[in-house]
């Protein structure tokens, strides 16, 4: 890879377009969000350009901290469950015939093409009392009468995990498919049974990959605001739901911006801590 800097100013010309796009669509909106979070709300979507800390004072309350905790609780649970499902799945996929791999990857991509609200309503139907799986369980004699599982925490987690798994698989698959297959064979000739090889060689070898994928799903899930409203009860609503509520229903843009900044900062802190921790572990 060529890492030398351009010799003169004309060398930077190819960077102009991406730089402009980045500034226009990333730096400017993000900067204005931070700025607006310090403005005074006038109601009805209007705000006065007076810098103050009222929005941040209001947000440090048990209610919003509770929402933050709920957000991270949901995100951690979803990330953990997704990894537990996606990692063995990707591992089996990599070791299956080429044609099987193609079919599954196309299936994963097609899930990505579905909108979040369609997936949410589909799950709420699947888990409903009138048309859901409980009717099947009754038919099989496992239940006395149909039950409703949505809305509820289980339904919420199921829905978000369903949207997160394709992302996890698409991150894990290329990494796992590049691993030298002889490493597992070496483990076997050294006395490890195939199942044990998975747990004491394959998993530890991919620790960094797993952490990265975990973080990606964590951040991805923190931003979900439709699923909690479709599949969750109000006590499962996350900070993202509060942000959309403040911005769209209450028309309190400055406070919504303050909540978003708050979420971004806490997320960065957590991701930063994990990355730092991982680096220290590697160094030791």
């Amino acid at each position: 890879m060529n890492t030398s800097r351009p010799q003169n100013l004309t060398g930077y010309v190819p960077l102009i377009l991406p730089a402009v796009v980045l500034v226009m669509f990333f730096v400017v909106p993000f900067g204005s969000m931070i700025l607006i979070s310090f403005y005074k709300n006038l109601g009805g979507g209007l705000y006065e350009e007076i810098l103050n800390l009222d929005n941040y004072r209001r947000l440090i309350s048990p209610f919003f901290v509770g929402l933050l905790i709920a957000s991270f609780g949901l995100a951690l649970a979803v990330a953990a469950i997704s990894i537990v499902i996606a990692f063995p799945f990707s591992y089996l996929l990599v070791n299956s015939p080429r044609s099987t791999q193609v079919v599954w990857l196309i299936f994963m991509l097609s899930i990505l093409s579905l909108s979040e609200s369609i997936i949410g309503f589909a799950w709420s139907t699947i888990l409903s009392r009138t048309a859901g799986v409980s009717n099947l369980l009754v038919f099989l004699g496992l239940l006395d009468r149909p039950a409703s599982y949505a809305p509820g925490l289980g339904a919420l987690i199921a829905g978000v995990v369903y949207t997160a798994i394709p992302y996890a698989v698409l991150v894990l698959y290329p990494i796992l498919s590049r691993v030298d297959p002889h490493i597992e064979e070496a483990a076997r000739t050294l006395g490890t049974s195939p199942l044990r090889t998975f747990f004491i060689v394959v998993l530890p070898m991919q620790r960094n990959t797993i952490v990265t994928t975990f973080l990606m799903i964590l951040v991805f899930t923190l931003g979900t605001y439709l699923m909690p409203q479709i599949l969750g009860r109000p006590q499962h609503w996350t900070l993202s739901v509060a942000i959309s509520d403040q911005a769209l229903m209450q028309s309190n843009i400055p406070f919504a911006a303050a909540l978003a900044v708050f979420l971004v900062i806490v997320t960065l802190l957590i991701v930063g801590t994990v990355v730092l921790f991982g680096r220290k572990e590697n160094a030791s």
Binding site: D180, H182, A186, T189, L190, G191, S193, R196, M205
Partner: protein, 346 residues
């Protein structure tokens, strides 16, 4: 009997036969080279011995016990892979100690064994390094040390030296051979490099097309190849076809060769090594006439190609570089073919 024996082993992938009717018996402590071109089945045979590949039919016996169905992780053989397959997330010491650790050896035993094995492969003091901090040759030694950690009954090497540069490869071949002699461990080395086989092996198994062509000690493989394939694959061979006449006279394109014991009548194929041939100006009773087509000085030897009308390939003659060559390109020469050096091929 003690040692490894393979009985009428076959391996098929769908309609393709990777190995056909392989039978082989190796006494304990021998160094065996499975030699052949790529795709000849030598790696498959090694993987079957390791238990990584199932057989279609046939048996693998170790010290008289049938181990055909024993899974790889219960065979306790040490194997070194072409890619080395070191565990990237473990240090050098942890890699070597791996087979001991998973069997529940104490930390002290592990450390002591790591020391012993690193000394054995002449790399002391690298136990705490990461695999990525080692050079290719050093990784090789670590892979060998890891495979030997269990004091295995069989030591299996699947072309581990092929990725090294020529000098390092030669040095490693000598080292592997020394190590094997020191430990007296039965060893199987897969290679397509005949020099490697000649350097290391007590017994060479030449394979082609999933079939064993010849099993013999290296010198015998070179001096008396069993067939044209072996003659051609091992070193450089001049393959000549002629008509056998009375008195051991074989009429070939460009002249005749006297080979004792050849029965008159019919075609005879024989092979003769380049270093056994000499050039002379006059025709003799066992010479072939041709023209000098190419001369090259290789430093340690002088090689002359002689084009003979009626022979598909030039005859190759190798002589000492100190010899004066009284011929030039295009000159007519007679190649003396000593009958005693000719190997009649079936």
């Amino acid at each position: 009997m003690s040692g490894l024996a393979i009985h009428q082993l076959n391996k098929a992938y769908g309609p393709v036969n990777a190995l056909s009717n392989i039978s082989l018996s190796v006494a304990n402590g021998q160094f065996v080279c499975l030699l052949g071109p790529s795709g000849c089945g030598k790696s498959t045979l090694l993987r079957i011995i390791a238990g990584l590949e199932a057989t279609t039919s046939g048996k693998v016996l170790l010290d008289g016990k049938d181990i055909t169905e024993v899974p790889a992780h219960l065979r306790d053989f040490g194997m070194v892979f072409q890619s080395l397959a070191l565990f990237p997330h473990l240090t050098v010491g942890e890699n070597i100690a791996y087979p001991l650790r998973i069997r529940g050896a104490s930390k002290e035993v592990q450390d002591r064994e790591v020391q012993r094995l690193l000394d054995l492969v002449h790399l002391p003091g690298v136990a705490d390094r990461a695999i990525t901090q080692l050079s290719g040759g050093q990784r090789q030694r670590i892979a060998i040390a890891r495979a030997l950690a269990l004091k295995p009954k069989l030591f299996l090497l699947d072309e581990p030296m092929s990725a090294l540069d020529a000098k390092l490869r030669e040095a490693m071949q000598v080292e592997v051979k020394r190590l094997q002699q020191e430990l007296g461990i039965t060893t199987f080395l897969v290679t397509h490099d005949q020099r490697e086989a000649m350097t290391t092996a007590d017994l060479v198994v030449v394979m082609s097309g999933g079939v064993i062509q010849q099993i013999a000690p290296p010198v015998e493989i070179y001096r008396s190849p069993a067939n044209a394939f072996v003659a051609d694959f091992i070193g450089v061979a001049n393959l000549i076809e002629g008509d056998a006449k009375a008195g051991g006279r074989v009429v070939v394109p460009g002249g005749q060769v006297l080979i004792d014991g050849v029965a008159a009548g019919g075609k005879v194929n024989f092979s003769v090594r380049p270093e056994d041939l000499t050039l002379q100006s006059a025709a003799g009773d066992s010479t072939v006439a041709g023209t000098v087509a190419f001369i090259r000085h290789l430093g340690s030897s002088l090689e002359v190609n002689v084009s003979v009308p009626g022979l598909a390939k030039d005859l190759i003659v190798v002589m000492s570089p100190r010899e004066h060559l009284p011929f030039d390109l295009g000159d007519t020469v007679n190649v003396h073919v000593p009958g005693s050096a000719c190997v009649v091929l079936r």
